[in-house]
């Protein structure tokens, strides 16, 4: 493999995704020791990190950043829509 491919934007994105995963892993494992007031914010943070990762995968790995506008919009609408709906259902859950 030539060095140009190592400098591919997807490589930087991949490094960031690995770091974000390690961060979520660490945050999630520590969650049990948190005060109950910080738990909802922790969950929101973890889900937002996940959907930012998903957007990076869609745009840089699936190459949607070079795709026609309609496909870009549909993908971004999924990311924003599903993330917002998850957070809404979580935040306004009756039993929590």
């Amino acid at each position: 493999m030539n060095t140009q491919l190592i400098k591919h934007p997807a490589t930087l994105v991949w490094a960031l995704l690995m770091i974000a995963t390690a961060l979520s892993w660490w945050l999630g494992a520590d969650g049990g020791e948190l005060k109950s007031a910080s738990i909802p914010m922790l969950t929101v943070t973890l889900m937002v990190i996940a959907f930012i990762k998903v957007r990076f995968v869609i745009h840089y790995f699936m190459e949607i950043r070079h795709a026609p506008l309609a496909l870009r919009l549909v993908c971004d609408a999924w990311v924003v829509g599903i993330c917002a709906a998850i957070l809404g259902l979580y935040w306004f859950a009756p039993a929590s």
């Binding site: 995963t21 869609i58 790995f61 699936m62 599903i82 859950a93």
Partner: protein, 188 residues
């Protein structure tokens, strides 16, 4: 990267399938969070029995496999089929690693008497991770096909549509797990 702007990676048909799959899994995620909200304690207690390290390690495996696939696609574009086949093989190996971890995880759960009928949390856990694992297995079949294709001396530019379609499907497998991991293993 693709030579032209406004380029759909792979067949339009595969994108109909990918978007449909994303919609179905999106609904799964919402159903899970809704029912979790009705019995948070049960979901928290059940989640505490999961091994987060398996979930996190599997996320890293799929991310690594996706990077290999991106590099394989770039090599295929540069008409370097042999190099592409090697990189697809590394991605396939990561997929097999994911399956092995899942096998260990399921075995541990079943040995502890935790099955799909244990409670609602585990019903979703087995259905979502099981359907995702099915995607991993199909994806590994797709990668195997791409390895054979890229190795063939007749590999040519017109095969790129197939390569991009298969690669996009593999990234979908990665993408779905990126959400399933915090949803099932981490959400408090």
């Amino acid at each position: 990267m693709p030579k032209t702007k406004n380029h759909v990676p792979g067949e339009v048909g595969i994108w109909v399938f990918i978007l449909g799959d994303m919609l179905v899994f999106g609904l799964f995620f919402l159903v899970f969070v809704y029912y979790r909200g009705l019995d948070v304690e049960l979901y928290r207690q059940s989640q505490a029995t999961l091994n987060q390290h398996y979930g996190a390690f599997n996320t890293l495996l799929l991310l690594a496999s996706s990077w290999f696939v991106v590099m394989a696609v770039e090599n295929a574009r540069a008409a370097s089929g042999k190099q592409a086949a090697k990189l697809f093989s590394l991605a396939l190996l990561c997929g097999a690693g994911f399956g092995a971890v899942k096998f260990i995880e399921y075995s541990e759960k079943l040995a502890a008497g935790i099955t799909i009928t244990s409670n609602d949390f585990f019903m979703y856990y087995y259905i979502f991770t099981g359907l995702h694992l099915l995607h991993v297995v199909i994806g590994m079949g797709v990668l195997t096909f791409l390895i054979i294709k890229a190795r063939s001396p007749q590999f040519q530019a017109s095969d790129m549509v197939l390569v991009e379609s298969g690669a996009s499907f593999w990234h979908l497998v990665d993408l779905l797990w990126i959400v399933l991991f915090p949803l099932l293993y981490l959400m408090k």
